[in-house]
């Protein structure tokens, strides 16, 4: 009897996966492939990059990509003003972006989900305090706040990650809070109460599992956002320092010589666009795939 | 007598499913005809065909719909729009959702009067106030200034009735106008519709599943099931000596003052099943025959 109430929708897991994939459609596939590609490049950058990203060769500075006139096969996407290989720097930048995105999104998710769950499940004073905190956060311009934070903490990856986590935990907290309240209002939550589960048990056994699809979707979206924030901070000049490659830094450098060598700015922009589109499509696809009651 | 509406052998399908299987129907000028059937019988599809509101996947496979001698289905869209709202009007089913929530009652009535009668705004407002007075709404000038949510369901239904008769139509199609209302309001609304019909000299096609309503106000009736006409004739004849077993079963399932409620009998499932089997057989016949 108890098992019946707790088991949720009854259907074979295999067919559920298949129908979920079908609902996700082309968005899920294209987004998945783009994101997988990005992760692979980030992971294997040292193996596949043709050059050391910091290796300077002033004799061959500002070379255009190999397929353009004046390009050299040794530098498939050309070189920057210090003669560093653009392709290699793009690949190492992906490494920077992905590590920031993974760590920052996970930390923001953990903090946001914890606060959102507490606020949604317990109501009263905890809910009031979390909600007021979110109100205050929503009154900050997010980009400016992360810039100030990163500047205050000082340059470096840790500061970028901290800036993203501190600014973006509200994205998770707001949605998880609302969804927890909605879940608690449903019948099976009442059934759990009847079965004598404590509120903490009900949260762990009943509510959290039902939030997993939502959390997965939010994470995909947040990783896209985190990549952007890293780009923004390195563009403003307060992300990673020195020779560490980052797309934002490459864009800033390219901006200075944009009239002589526009591709140096265009290529990292393209890399950012592809990553952002990838995470967006993946997020959209996951939302469609994991939400069985979606209307369209 | 001349017919305002004459439907002849109308076939409508939604995708692969037939919803009307050769419906023929005649509404004489000034008469009140009941169109009776359970849900899914296709009675609302008849109305939708007349108003050009069939769903996107629906197709008219065969048949004619003549209004005052003109073929509604063949005429250009613009010509048909000139008839709708002016010569053919609708009293909708649900007064709560049938008025635009963000426009004042006056604006909604004026738009209709201006479209079809070419009145000035001033004249249209006066006419709208007269119409509201006709449907026994007190203080019409004030009601014209109100939004739908400020009126009760019964009041909104009166407004909708006033709008249906606003341009003196020849035919009003009443689509279960009492279903969504309280029992106490139902009687008043029926009386109101009948009074407005007499004043404006219109015919009414009264779509309903309620035989009691039909008995009260309809002179003739048509019984529909599975998109087919099972019975057609003067109300008195059909109700007293129904030809079809289905009509008899429906009558047995209708509450009456002269017998106890527990004497009600549901329509036998076997009868329904045989009717659907017959409908499917008809579908196969038409499918094998070249159109």
């Amino acid at each position: 009897m108890a098992d019946l109430i707790l088991s949720g929708p009854i259907s074979a897991p295999a067919s559920r996966w298949r129908s979920a994939l079908a609902r996700g459609g082309a968005r899920l596939w294209i987004g998945g492939v783009l994101v997988a590609l990005l992760l692979l490049i980030a992971l294997f950058a040292p193996v596949i990059a043709p050059h050391d990203p910091a290796e300077q060769d002033l004799m061959s500075a500002q070379l255009p990509p190999a397929f353009m006139r004046g390009g050299e096969a040794a530098f498939p996407l050309g070189t920057d003003s210090l003669g560093r290989c653009v392709l290699s720097r793009l690949m190492y930048s992906a490494r920077t972006a992905v590590s920031v995105a993974l760590i920052a999104s996970l930390l923001a998710a953990i903090i946001g989900i914890a606060l959102g769950l507490v606020a949604g499940a317990f109501g009263g004073v905890p809910d009031q305090s979390v909600s007021r905190l979110i109100d205050v956060w929503m009154a900050f311009p997010p980009v400016l706040l992360s810039i100030v934070l990163a500047a205050v903490i000082g340059a470096g990856l840790v500061s970028v990650i901290a800036a993203i986590v501190v600014v973006d935990w509200t994205r998770f907290a707001r949605i998880i809070r609302a969804e927890t309240q909605a879940q608690l209002a449903r019948d099976y939550a009442a059934a759990a109460h009847v079965l004598g589960l404590t509120r903490a048990q009900a949260l762990r056994l009943e509510i959290l599992p039902n939030l997993v699809p939502l959390i997965v979707t939010l994470l995909a979206v947040e990783m896209g956002i985190a990549i952007l924030v890293e780009v923004i901070l390195s563009f403003v000049g307060i992300s990673v320092t020195g020779d560490t490659a980052s797309w934002g830094g490459m864009i800033t450098e390219g901006r200075q010589i944009v009239y002589q060598a526009p591709w140096i700015m265009a290529l990292p922009i393209l890399a950012v666009i592809i990553s952002v589109i990838g995470f967006n499509l993946l997020g959209d696809g996951l939302r469609a795939a994991l939400d069985p009651v979606q209307r369209r | 007598m001349s017919a305002v509406l004459e439907i002849d052998n109308l076939h409508v399908a939604i995708g692969a499913a037939n919803v009307l299987r050769g419906v023929s129907l005649r509404v004489e000028a000034g008469e009140v005809r009941g169109l009776v059937g359970e849900s899914g019988a296709g009675k609302s599809m008849v109305g939708r065909t007349i108003f050009g509101l069939l769903p996107a996947k629906a197709a008219i496979r065969a048949g004619q719909v003549q209004f005052e001698g003109r073929d509604l289905l063949a005429m250009p869209d613009k010509e048909r729009r000139g008839l709708l709202g002016r010569r053919i009007a609708l009293i909708p089913q649900d007064p709560m959702t049938s008025l635009n929530p963000v426009r004042r009652i006056g604006a909604q009535m004026v738009a209709l009067l201006q479209l079809h009668l070419g009145l000035s705004k001033r004249a249209a407002l006066d006419r709208a106030a007269d119409l509201l007075a006709e449907v026994a709404i007190r203080d019409p000038a004030r009601v014209l200034q109100l939004y739908p949510h400020e009126l009760s369901g019964g009041m909104r239904q009166r407004v909708l009735i006033a709008m249906a008769f606003a341009c003196d139509p020849a035919l009003v199609i009443a689509d279960e106008p009492t279903t969504a209302l309280d029992v106490t309001v139902q009687r008043q609304v029926l009386q109101l519709v009948e009074r407005m019909r007499q004043r404006h000299d219109a015919a009414i096609l009264f779509v309903t599943h309620d035989l009691g309503v039909v008995a009260k106000i309809c002179r003739s009736m048509t019984v529909l099931h599975a998109g087919r006409v099972l019975e057609d004739g003067p109300t008195a004849d059909v109700l007293v000596k129904p030809h079809h077993a289905y009509t008899r079963a429906l009558l047995a399932a209708t509450p009456r003052a002269d017998r106890p409620a527990d004497a009600l009998k549901p329509v036998p499932p076997a009868l329904i099943e045989s009717l659907w089997a017959e409908a499917r057989r008809l579908d196969q016949l038409t499918a094998t025959r070249p159109a």
Binding site: R132, L133, D135, V136, M138, A139, F140, P141, P142, V143, L144, I147, V148, L149, A151, V152, G154, L228, I232, F235, V236, I238, V258, P262, M265, A266, I269, I273, V276, I277, N280, L281, D284 | F51, G52, L53, A56, R81, G82, L83, L84, G85, R86, A89, L90, P92, D94, T97, S98, L99, N100, P101, V102, R103, A111, L112, L115, Y147, H149, E150
Partner: protein
């Protein structure tokens, strides 16, 4: 009922602003770098440094500094900028109009584009073109204003140099303005050559801000139009002989507009936040660009003043959207 909700929102504004102020204040005081060190000439004596610290109140305990600052802010004194050596209030007052004009132009452009795309998409419903339009719209929605700014800079500033990519006004025009609302002033004084030059400078940055917001408006409005078109009142309007365009315009659009305004209005704050980077990229002299300079120069009073300005703008915008929805929806007005 609705009005009490708005009153409640009003009551929450002071504590929210206080929270914003406190967080910024504390954040900036725990910073390791010393702002004074950046403004003194090399070789200044320790006594000079101490004097400067005292001048900016940096020698007081944190809480005392906060209370002093609160009192000053309450009386309209936001302190002096360390790097620009002017009153923060005046600095912000001189730059804010530039940002407001830019954001207003962006919102106007976005609404025009978004409404047009939504209406065209609704008329194309069910066709292959609709799919194409939706896909393109998703693309525009996914790319944020910051990237659009870079793309537009590259496209129309460098590769196809049609428009200026830096500044607010051609310095050669040498116009004297009485207010800081240059665009509005030049239009009111009929200096159309100046207005045209201002608009040419504003076009790329405002377009960068407008594109993702337009895509959002288009998506929301199109979905709401489809929903409103399915409602009984819209179907019944067809039984009264109204044409599809009339119904779309009179019955469907006003109803679809209400949820669209409510949902997208909040996102205007994101557009406003986007001015920080977009102004930076196009060297446009608004408060966003100023904020980045202030951060780089560790100019605490200016950063505080600017963040508070953004916070006030955000809160005011949210409130304005609530009021606008109440005005558009008679059910809320009378509730």
């Amino acid at each position: 009922m609705r009005w009490s909700a708005i009153l409640k929102r009003l009551a929450l504004i002071p504590p929210t602003l206080l929270g914003v102020g406190a967080i910024v204040f504390v954040l900036l005081r725990v910073v390791p770098g010393d702002p004074i060190a950046m403004m003194i000439p090399p070789g200044a004596s320790p006594a000079d440094i101490a004097r400067l610290r005292a001048l900016y109140g940096l020698d007081q305990p944190l809480l005392a500094q906060f209370v002093t600052w609160l009192g000053q802010v309450a009386s309209g004194d936001f302190g002096r900028s360390i790097s620009l050596r002017q009153q923060v209030f005046e600095l912000v007052g001189a730059r804010l109009p530039a940002t407001l004009e830019l954001a207003a132009l962006a919102v106007a452009l976005a609404l025009m584009m978004g409404v047009a795309v939504a209406v065209v998409g609704s008329l194309l419903r069910g066709s292959r073109l609709e799919w194409l339009l939706d896909t393109a719209n998703g693309f525009f929605l996914a790319i944020p204003d910051f990237l659009w700014a870079l793309i537009l800079l590259l496209g129309f500033g460098v590769l196809l140099p049609l428009l200026p990519i830096s500044g607010r006004l051609d310095p050669q025009l040498a116009v004297a303005f009485r207010t800081h609302f240059y665009l509005i002033e030049s239009l009111l004084t009929l200096r159309f050559d100046v207005a045209a030059d201002l608009l040419r400078h504003m076009l790329l940055p405002s377009l960068a801000l407008a594109l993702p917001f337009a895509a959002l408006v288009a998506r929301l409005l199109k979905a709401q139009l489809a929903e409103a078109e399915d409602q009984d009142y819209a179907q019944i309007a067809r039984t009264r002989g109204f044409s599809r365009t009339t119904i779309l315009q009179r019955e469907v659009f006003p109803n679809a507009l209400i949820p669209t305004v409510a949902l997208s209005g909040v996102q205007v704050t994101l557009l406003l936040g986007g001015t920080v980077l977009v102004e930076r990229i196009f060297s446009y002299e608004g408060i966003g660009n100023m904020a980045i300079d202030a951060v780089i120069n560790r100019d605490f009073p200016l950063i505080q003043g600017l963040i508070l300005t953004f916070a006030v703008l955000f809160i005011a915008l949210n409130l304005a959207v609530d009021l606008l929805v109440a005005v558009l929806d008679p059910r809320l007005r009378h509730g």
